[in-house]
């Protein structure tokens, strides 16, 4: 186990320069989620039209892992159908449990950098927070 497995350069890049940080003006579903054990928070917004995620933005507070994961996730799901996005949620969850997954299925190759998180059990919840928010948002869209 090495720290460099966890803190890859690409993770730090997303942490320092988060993509899609902000609010969506109109027509978005908002999901607020926190990790009660550590205080990390995310407020995720998604604008879904005809079953396609047109836009995803987030605000939140947290560590490098949780914020970089949110940044990557919002990049990755843009333009996907909600079904495709849900598949990514499952794929990411498998990856966090240390299972072998086909990295090429992620539309954003940066996500591969988060593979190392699975070796740090205490940090898995940091990485999955944004994806749990995504899943919750999709469920809400499906109910509407």
């Amino acid at each position: 186990m090495s720290l460099d497995d966890l803190y890859r350069r690409v993770i730090m890049d997303h942490y320092q320069r988060p993509r899609n940080r902000g609010r969506i003006e109109e027509g978005a579903v908002t999901v607020d989620l926190n990790n009660p054990t550590c205080g990390d928070r995310i407020s995720l917004q998604m604008r879904v039209e005809n079953g396609v995620i047109e836009e995803a933005k987030f605000l939140g507070e947290g560590c490098s892992i949780s914020l970089s994961s949110a940044s990557m996730m919002t990049e990755a799901v843009k333009g996907l159908t909600i079904e495709q996005a849900l598949e990514l949620v499952h794929l990411f969850s498998k990856m966090m449990q240390g299972e072998e997954v086909d990295i090429d299925k992620f539309p954003l190759e940066d996500i591969e950098a988060l593979t190392g998180v699975s070796k740090f059990p205490a940090r898995i919840k940091c990485a999955t927070l944004a994806w749990k928010a995504l899943e919750k948002g999709i469920r809400e869209c499906q109910c509407q």
Partner: protein, 406 residues
């Protein structure tokens, strides 16, 4: 500064290739050999239920269980073992008072007063009591360093104040609150005071008669004993007029088809088979603490906390929270530009265990203006070398994050 590391087997191991430095005793303490052996002796030699068997093992277990209660009584200087109720921990002890004492007595217009720095366990029970009784929940104002100003305490307490519930030592800031003085003010107004002693009883002499507190709650696992057991001390007159909140075996006197009566104190509050091994382990922990001496332990823990504050404040880019003087057992801090989770992960890679997060004090975190913090906490098995390792670990954290950022 003497360290008692040798008595704690768990500390003699490597974590991630480095000798373990355990700096998370405010979350839970490690256990010395005599405590581990007391549990082993009980389970190997005389495991039995208490207060019922005629047989020899049952008597031995009962003697050990009740013997532990006497040790607790002596340790906190209660008048009688009737005032010592074994609970599952501090949380259960506070909830017992909230449910049995407060819910049945408070009404709209009454006040409960606490501090904004309470652990959730001494905050949420009172929120719930306020909601269900219509009583008002009020807060003492904190000074900029997290301490209390007694003049403001006096202003906050009124004749309507029925309960003041307050931590003795803050698990985040290490603040030691002037309990004796506060108890006096509360009593002048006819209220009762409950003290959360989870972070004080392990580190200093706490004398319930000298402090004149009405209730004191604390946990075994933070004072070298096993998890799963804690203590509610209550003045006999108060406990006597309180109803049990758990009903069943062990706590009854006479049972009819439609009505029953309760055992006398303290057993009416101990429904079900009690935490026998836990109590015996706690008794062994008290013996161990007393063999060192609580004054000695307090001096050691205060000195280490002071040293840690000094050394950490010399590291550039570290913010320390809480008072500069008179703090006990914990140093809570942040490293500029590095989230505390990341700090804790880098330290862990160096074999150093610290806590990161909100420390079960979300309102206090907001008051500090931090979403989370890192915390190092100390006990008798820590020494200067541990602090030096922490400082080195923090320097490494800064270097590491400085480099990946570049």
């Amino acid at each position: 500064m003497k360290s008692y590391k040798k008595d704690f087997p768990i500390l003699h191991q490597e974590v991630n290739g480095h000798p373990l430095v355990y700096l998370d005793s405010a979350a839970t303490s490690q256990k010395p050999i005599p405590v581990i052996e007391a549990l082993e002796d009980y389970y190997k030699g005389y495991n039995s239920n208490v207060h019922r068997g005629v047989h020899t093992l049952g008597s031995k277990a009962t003697d050990a269980y009740e013997g532990a209660r006497e040790k607790v009584r002596r340790f906190i200087h209660a008048r009688s073992t009737k005032e010592i109720v074994f609970t599952r921990g501090t949380t259960t002890a506070i909830n017992l008072v909230a449910s049995s004492y407060a819910r049945t007595r408070l009404a709209p217009g009454d006040e409960i007063v606490i501090t904004p720095s309470e652990h959730h366990s001494n905050l949420i029970p009172w929120q719930q009591v306020a909601k269900s009784t219509g009583a008002t929940l009020k807060y003492f104002p904190l000074e900029a360093d997290g301490t209390l100003d007694l003049a403001k305490v006096k202003e906050t307490i009124t004749p309507n104040t029925k309960i003041v519930a307050i931590q003795h030592v803050s698990n985040v800031l290490g603040t030691v609150h002037p309990i004796k003085e506060i108890a006096q003010i509360v009593h002048q107004h006819g209220g009762v005071i409950l003290v959360d002693g989870a972070q004080s009883v392990p580190h200093m002499k706490v004398d319930v008669q000298d402090l004149d507190v009405d209730f004191l709650a604390f946990s075994s696992h933070k004072m070298l004993g096993p998890t799963g057991i804690g203590v509610l001390y209550g003045k006999e007159a108060l406990l006597d007029e309180m109803e049990p909140i758990e009903f069943g075996g062990e706590m009854i006197d006479h049972v009819d088809l439609y009505d029953s009566t309760w055992k006398e104190l303290p057993w009416k509050f101990e429904g079900g088979t009690p935490i026998i091994a836990g109590a015996i382990g706690l008794g062994a922990a008290i013996d161990y603490l007393e063999s060192i001496g609580m004054d000695q332990i307090e001096a050691h823990d205060r000195a280490l906390t002071k040293l840690a504050c000094e050394k950490l404040s010399q590291v550039e880019g570290i913010t320390i929270y809480g008072p500069k003087e008179n703090r006990m057992g914990v140093v809570t801090f942040n490293v500029d530009g590095v989230h505390p989770h990341d700090v804790a992960t880098v330290l862990d890679a160096e074999g150093i265990a610290v806590r990161a997060g909100h420390h079960c004090c979300q309102p206090l975190m907001r008051w500090l203006g931090a979403t989370a913090t890192a915390r190092a906490s100390f006990y008798i098995y820590n020494d200067e070398e541990d602090i030096d390792r922490l400082v080195k670990g923090l320097q490494k954290t800064k270097e590491y994050f400085g480099n990946v950022f570049r």
